[in-house]
Amino acid sequence: MNHPCLVTLERDSAPRTLFSGDRLVEVDLPVGTRVIYPKPPLEPLRDPDAAIRYALNHPLGSDPLHARLRPGMKVTIAVDDISLPLPPMRRPDVRERVVTVVLELLADHGIEDIEIIVATGVHRRMKAHEIRHMLGDRIFDAYWPDRLYNHDAEDTANLVEIGRTPHGDPLVLNRRAVESDLLIYANMNYVPMNGGYKSVAVGLCDYASLRSHHNPHSIRASDSYMDPARSKLATDIERMGRLAHEKLNVFTIETTINNRMFDRSLDFLVKNEDELTSRERALLKALVVSTAKLPQPARHAIFDKFPAPYGMTGVWAGAVGEVHARSVERNFEQYCVPIEGQADVLVYGVPYISPYNVHAFLNPLLVQVLAQGYLFNMYRGAPLVKKGGTLILLHPCTDKFDHEQHAPYVDFVHRLLPETRDAVLLRERYEEKYARDPALLQMYRTGHAYHPSHPFFMWYWGENGRQHLGRVIVVGADNEYIPKLFGWETSPSMEDALYRAKNGENRSLSVTALHVPPVIMGDMTLPGGATG
């Protein structure tokens, strides 16, 4: 019997409503299509603050936090940045809750030398209002900007090499974090690839340290990067992380949230279309029509304006390995839907948001990384689609970039991709050169642009899809150029795309559709009970 979140379409099934950027579109999928829906949100913790205190007092593999404190010590608190959750959550963000409790504890122990670093890695600097949203007014007003600030991966004076891994890779970290008596990392484990050893080793490092694992080889050897046990990326980062945790005194706090991305008024967006009430059906229809008619900024505002009502489902503290195992387990519990057998065709709508376009337009390179990277990797066991299979995605692929955040992306898409799509070649020929671009570095350091190496990582992140899929067909693209640049085909309708996927053969294709967002992972079992 199918899992309740796995719906097989029948002859009289309603059309499915999928995201296509910030539009909602109705598509008819063939009879027999398996549509995977998100699991219902896990019940949030009744008293998150009490749960945080409990976690700090009953840590895993470590003494309680209070036992590791002494008056006068130098403490740094690092927190994950705005790239998660998506969209940003309603206040108070779980990081505000965690840091508030930690700061109270530090004050009780006579600790005054405290700094809070937003562990951005090579992501863009968060803006003041975003940090205020994430950490709350009280913390922001007390610490910003001198004792609460963004990490700067190019501030050579404030970076220090702490050593090399057994493989010879250097690890350079934020000096303040390294020189602190205690580093407390407050993480938000939105998906299984977040957190763990990655928090310190990536969030607080420099570009050179990232290079050893942020590369096409690590990505290609990950199956998938959402499954840490089978991710070479995770293994490579863990090597760095172990070095960091050997040299630094780190206390890890990880949190998980449920998947309640939409408020109750938009809850119907995640429901099986056949089970909608007549009121919900009318509302959904109205959204489909209005997102088709409204101008782009208005469409964006509908989804961007309202923070998500995510609920905190877990908090653990102590030694990174044990803590992270618990948060990943909770992620899987929320996201994994069991499914048997890979499909010939995988369908999904690419939504309007990714970790790297909060408050900005989803540029084409980010569409690519969602399509061939993050969404493709949403599986455990084996990919949802057969090797050489077809991905049909819905997105306009508009050739537009946010000038402030995504300045380095423009050259990558329009200057480098026309030369080659080969990720290894791009890395060898161009990555380091672009990573040293003085203008783009300045935009990263003093503006709010991503580091010039970031678009390269975004291309590598799509490597699994590129290597595995036979074809990618885009439905609803507003131009031919961008899809062609990515090696994708375009199609005017889902019907036409499915016809093309048959490739002239007279056979029926097995189709699986992922009804995202919010996050769903397919827990794949291959016929006969094997996993990939």
Binding site: D152, E154, D155, F401, H403, A407, V410, K433, R436, D437, P438, A439, L440, L441, Q442, M443, R445, T446, G447, A449
Partner: protein, 222 residues
Amino acid sequence: MAACYFDVDGTLVRTNLIQPTVYYLLNQGTPVQTALRVGKALFRAPRMAYAELLDRRTFNELLYSAYAGMSEDRLAVLADEVFDSVLRPSLFPAAKDLVEKSRAAGHEVVFVSGALDWIVRRLANHFGGGGVIANRLEMKAGIATGKLLKPVVAGPEKARIVRDHARERGYDLDDCFAFSDSYSDVPMLSVVGHPAAVNPDKRLALLARAYSWPLFDLTAHA
């Protein structure tokens, strides 16, 4: 190997071409000389303002005519003072970091300015060295004639000079960078593969956005 071409006034320092000139005029040998020179300059001011609207090169020529009659020694001595009193306090906080990042990327750093070469050379030294492309006063028997030697570094001419410089050094212009704050430098920005608008005026900011050129503000600290 490539070069980074930096416009100076408004890009790396808050000052413009007029401020150093005013400093020179106010620091003549005697109060009478100062009064005479300032008076002449004020007389020319409306013409300069009009020239600035039409053509940067004409503006430069009018501006530097104020130096006519000054001795080379005096100009050289005052150059140190101009740098220390006018330029150094007006350097943008992040300017040095930008120049250092350019050097760290392996690029030759070249300062391209309509200011006088004596002053720009001192600025280059402050930034740890680099090439200087700047205006030079014509001298006769150790006295400035008030005319500029060709080529006059301004507007479209900057583009030609940068192109020639890159060709002489064997640089591929496509790999070179240029930084400026002013719309009048669009020709220079357009000849390199990596143009960037720094603290841009409105027209340049619009253009930079239209062409997706990097755009940033050096007045902010890193």
